[in-house]
């Protein structure tokens, strides 16, 4: 079987709308009315192993939502479902649904390529391509068939400014991106992730490989970016979650334990498990 990620017909995961459970309000922990991404009784399997056990979640638009929880709790797995990156792994399947603006991302009419252009992603380890800074940022546009030089130049400047990197690199746009420092590389990856003007930005532990100064810069950037983007960030650093996010979801062993305003999660959580994790008694 060929790994064809592009064609929706050959899509390996079948969504059965008949078996999907009707949406029940009582299942949902919803701190905000302006929902945007809706996760509906979502289960996820690596082979036979179920790693997400029926997640229900509504993520509001233009906010920073952080996913916290101990390693292996499923937070990254859920994050990587929003842009269907998990489909790159053979032998995975899911049940339930995820909708964005009311449209299921698993609907056969949704092209995974188009979906990923609408959803930027920043990875744990910064991964600029081994090409120039300029080449990295215009890559998402070039693969979409955009060749207009002035448009590309404009995008490079806009994205680098948004990622607070323009002043540092404007004189060496055509030098290799691999010559940048670790923190600059990660900000370059953020610039690249927003080049195709996505609505949503997924960040999978974006600061775990950075020193405190670079981390502070990326955190400032996240707070700045939420004006234009819906940001979901997975983090192991609870201080980071409390600094940058307005909403926090706590996951444990594949379950969503609690989802609420960050302030409440960190000062007055309603679940014992959350409190124990926050205060460092386990995890």
């Amino acid at each position: 079987m060929s790994n064809d990620y592009t064609s929706s017909e050959a899509h390996p995961i079948q969504v059965s709308h008949e078996t999907a459970r009707p949406y029940e309000l009582t299942d949902v922990v919803s701190p905000s009315k302006t929902n945007f991404i809706k996760v509906d009784d979502f289960r996820f399997f690596y082979g036979k192993k179920e790693v997400l056990h029926g997640i229900n979640l509504e993520i509001p638009s233009r906010r920073v939502t952080s996913f916290i929880g101990p390693s292996g709790c499923g937070k990254s797995t859920l994050l990587r479902n929003f842009n269907r990156m998990n489909e790159l792994i053979p032998g995975v399947r899911h049940e339930g649904d995820i909708t964005i603006h009311g449209t299921s991302i698993f609907d056969p009419s949704v092209e995974v390529i188009a979906l990923r252009r609408r959803i930027g992603m920043v990875f744990q380890k910064s991964n600029p391509f081994p090409m120039s800074i300029y080449g990295n940022i215009v890559y998402p546009l070039r693969i979409a068939g955009q060749g207009d030089r002035s448009m590309l130049d404009e995008t490079v400047e806009r994205c680098l400014r948004s990622a607070a990197l323009w002043d540092e690199v404007k004189d060496r746009l055509h030098e290799s991106a691999l010559g940048l420092s670790g923190g600059q590389m990660q900000r370059l990856c953020i610039a690249r992730a927003i080049a195709s003007r996505p609505e949503i930005l997924l960040m999978d532990e974006p600061c775990s490989a950075l020193d405190p100064i670079a981390t502070a810069k990326v955190e400032e950037l996240i707070i700045e970016l939420k004006r234009n983007f819906t940001i979901i960030i997975v983090t192991h650093n609870m201080h980071q979650a409390s600094r940058v996010s307005e909403l926090t979801a706590f996951f444990y062993l594949g379950n969503l334990v609690e989802f609420d305003e960050t302030r409440k999660i960190f000062t007055n959580p309603s679940k014992l498990q959350t409190e124990e994790y926050i205060t460092g008694r386990f995890g």
């Binding site: 790994n3 592009t6 990923r116 991964n127 693969i143 290799s176 691999l178 992730a193 195709s196």
Partner: protein
């Protein structure tokens, strides 16, 4: 302590011993081949038996032409197969079969490649030719190129692929714009190794390209090669031809070594 020193000494002695045959070959070839080296060797044809003077420019030319033909055939096939088995279908019966056969082919005696090309090209076209020699060499180097290319593709970081898919690239775009360019230095190293292997082989060209006393004018005619020239001239009873065979050996060893060194120098240290 004493035991430790003894074992260390033994290891050093044995490693020097492995160098001995290699160094003796080089010394022997240089000593016997060097006296005749001049520009004439590269620009002139071989003398008639019993006569002196001249060189083996046609054999150098023939070797280069046949190596090029083999590369034209084996490089696209090898790289594209590697792309298929590593990128498109890493776990499929076809890929397993290709991998298995490629590994088998690396162990096949080179003379068998020659026999095959003889049957497939020479017999059907009724001509010994550079094409037939090139086909034989292509079969010989195809598994080398395929397997080193696969290794090269496997060496490309998963994070590049994730980054590319993450911004909405198709598998085709990811492979052509990100994966292949990054793997290219390692693929080129494999190609250079294949070149040096193909240039040095005698058996595959012995009865496919045969030999020729003249300059190559067409790829459809019998063609001289350095390796076959060494084989032919070394067995002649004329002193000058034997000297020419030594010089041809020196030229061949130099060519192969240079290709190897070049491959290491240009392509090995990945610019990270």
């Amino acid at each position: 302590m004493l035991r430790n020193r003894f074992l260390t000494g033994l290891c050093i002695a044995l490693s020097l011993l492995t160098l001995f045959p290699l160094i003796s070959i080089v010394i022997l070839v240089i000593r016997n081949g060097l006296p005749l080296i001049s520009m004439n060797l590269f620009t002139q044809l071989s003398p008639a038996p019993g006569l002196e003077g001249g060189g083996f420019g046609n054999a150098i030319m023939g070797t280069l032409v046949m190596v090029c033909i083999s590369l034209l055939l084996a490089v696209p096939l090898g790289i594209l197969s590697a792309v298929y088995i590593n990128e498109y279908a890493p776990v499929s019966p076809v890929s397993s079969a290709v991998r298995f056969v490629a590994k088998l082919l690396t162990g096949i005696p080179s003379i068998i490649c020659g026999v095959f090309a003889f049957a497939a090209v020479v017999m059907t076209s009724q001509h010994f030719s550079a094409i037939a020699g090139g086909v034989a060499l292509a079969i010989l180097i195809l598994p080398i190129i395929l397997l080193t290319s696969e290794q090269a593709l496997m060496g490309v970081s998963v994070s590049y692929r994730e980054a590319s898919y993450g911004v909405g690239a198709t598998p085709f775009q990811t492979i052509w714009r990100i994966v292949l360019p990054d793997a290219m230095p390692a693929i080129m190293t494999g190609i250079m190794l294949a070149v040096s292997r193909a240039a040095g082989e005698t058996a595959p060209v012995l009865f496919t390209a045969l030999f020729s006393q003249n300059w190559i004018t067409s790829v459809f005619e019998p063609t001289a090669s350095l390796s076959v020239l060494i084989y032919n001239f070394a067995s002649l009873p004329y002193a000058y031809h034997i000297k020419l065979a030594w010089s041809a050996s020196l030229v061949l060893v130099t060519l192969v070594t240079l290709t190897n060194i070049l491959a290491q120098m240009i392509f090995s240290p990945k610019q990270r």
